[in-house]
């Protein structure tokens, strides 16, 4: 199986699994204070080591990292927590139109609770419209949420400029870095975000663990009540094994693997455009402005679900932005926001790579796409026939 759906989830690195195992069968106590029993202290130490590794990668302090169950929870805590803590004069929420659903739907839920929402449009490459963002962010804005890298087309947002706008108006900035963490640099000492979402399973860590960076002094209310864990910002027994795995995954993630994925990305783009006539690149034309593992291409005259199914039969796992593939039977909202035609979205295929993919897999994938699209175009009423 050639797995090219790494923006959905990734293979857990064997070294991560190994690091986690003792925390199921040996050090399984609840992480608790230094005045506890030895197993509890050991668990707490392991949790805090992982916390330090993640903090360091972000340029943050360990006390600024809150462990959560993943990206969705981090995004919920960031937005609902910031909205709840904001004063009556700052109730506005601003996000981009291409945010992950865990941001978009959270923002819409807040809108229903009386927090006015502004969704800022993007251009044809998925970049947030900075002029419109500037209009949307006012001195009544509580929090602005802009992702670092897009889940579908890989667009990397100009966070410097976004942060400047927020700072000028005194609004909090939340960055969803679920897909970009450890791949695209994000240092909170240079990008003054208040809240940053990160997650483990998109970077060869386990599912069920994420974190939220909360800048010191940021007003945030907890949304899940119970015990006083995680700086009293997130109640619930800490997932120590998963946190240890997350820490290990961050330790392993280095620039060399980012570079190797970048090369595969370049190669796949080139091979696909060569193999399939009329193929179109979706998202930024400049690969340097995309997440390193993201390749998104539309094959005109054929429908994406058919392509995905054929590729699956050939042992290649990818996804499409076609309506037929989605649970809502709507084409990709990201591509609709980018102003793409329905047809382009229906014919779009997303390939997302990881360091476990090989050059040979990339070659075989492009070849399979050539065959599949050729076959489907033969039966398509839209394709030109010789």
């Amino acid at each position: 199986m050639i797995y090219l759906d790494n923006a959905a989830s990734t293979r857990v690195d064997p070294r991560v699994v190994e690091a986690m195992l003792p925390f199921f069968t040996e050090t399984y106590a609840v992480a608790s204070s230094q005045f506890s029993h030895t197993p509890g202290i050991l668990a707490k130490e392991a949790l805090d080591r992982a916390r330090s590794v993640i903090a360091e990668r972000l340029g943050a302090g360990p006390d600024e990292i809150v462990f959560t169950s993943g990206g969705t929870e981090s995004n919920n805590l960031a937005l609902k927590g910031a909205a709840a803590a904001a004063g009556p004069k700052r109730k506005g929420i601003v996000c981009s139109a291409v945010e992950h659903t865990s941001v978009l739907h959270t923002c819409r839920a807040l809108e229903k609770r009386g927090f006015p929402l502004a969704v800022v449009p993007v251009d044809g490459e998925g970049f947030v419209d900075l002029n419109r963002l500037e209009e949307a962010v006012t001195d009544q804005t509580a929090v602005v949420s802009v992702q670092q890298g897009n889940q579908e087309v890989g667009t990397l947002q100009p966070l410097d400029a976004v942060a400047d706008l927020c700072r000028k108006k005194g609004a909090l900035l939340h960055v969803d870095a679920s897909l970009s963490f450890t791949q695209t640099g994000l240092d909170v000492r240079s990008i003054p975000a208040n809240l940053v979402t990160v997650t483990a399973h998109k970077m060869h860590g386990p599912k069920g663990i994420g974190a939220l960076y909360v800048r010191k002094g940021t007003a945030l209310e907890k949304i899940q009540h119970g015990g006083y864990m995680e700086n009293d910002l997130r109640a619930g027994t800490e997932n120590v094994a998963a946190a240890v795995g997350f820490g290990k995954a961050v330790e392993i993630a280095d620039d060399a693997s980012v570079e190797s994925v970048r090369l595969l990305q370049k190669r796949l783009f080139a091979l696909l455009l060569e193999a399939v006539p009329d193929a179109q690149v979706n998202g930024p034309a400049d690969p340097a402005k995309r997440l390193c593992g993201n390749v998104n291409v539309s094959f005109p005259f054929v429908e994406g679900e058919s392509v995905v199914l054929h590729l699956d039969m050939k042992g290649i796992a990818v996804i499409t932005g076609s309506a037929c593939f989605s649970r809502s039977l709507e084409p990709s909202y990201v591509m609709m926001a980018m102003g793409y035609s329905h047809e382009r979205a229906h014919g779009s295929i997303r390939f997302t790579l990881s360091r476990f993919n090989t050059e040979d897999e990339i070659r075989r994938t492009a070849e399979a796409c050539r065959e599949v699209v050729e076959a489907l175009r033969r039966i398509s009423p839209l394709a030109k026939k010789e």
């Binding site: 058919s306 037929c324 039977l329 329905h342 047809e343 398509s380 009423p381 839209l382």
Partner: protein, 212 residues
Amino acid sequence: MSIPYTKKILEHFMHPHNVGQVENPDATATEGSPACGDMVKLSLKVDAPTKTITDIKFESYGCASNIATGSIITDLAKGRTIDEAKAITWQKANEELGGLPPVKVHCAVLAVDALKTAIENYEHRHGLLKEKVPTDEKIVMKRLSRVINPLAGLDVVRTKIVTEVRIEAGDVTVFVELPEDHQFAANLRNEIQERIEPLWDVRSVNVVFRGK
């Protein structure tokens, strides 16, 4: 079991039967549109004395369910009289395929609709109508309600880009609120003509773009 499709569906999807276009067809029909993500085009040949479908082919732009239904529906219709073929329902196609996932049934309906429309078009053109109702604006609009406005993904009637229909002695003129040089204009003209031309008393179909 990972994929929610039966073996039969996958067989027809991987190796669809009766693909392409019949040469010199006696009737054709297109249902769906690229904007919807599903489109089926049927063409068929009818032996006039026996009213038997001697050849039928399909083309599909669509998902697995759409392709598989196009394949099974052409299998089912081939060799049948047009009256028998008219009685083929999507339930029948669905049954033959071993059951589509419920969410995909609309893809199957499209192929069945195309078959019905193609036969209806044949009847119009071969004097087989039981009742010859003269074409009026209502009939034209009803047929146009199956043409999709590519800008909206909804039909041209509901989205009100067809603003007027004139009918004079078999010459139909359809006015469309779209610039003549719009990227979708040529395609839309074809689709409108394909919908209206088969009507028994229609001599010509003219599509006039008067866009802003």
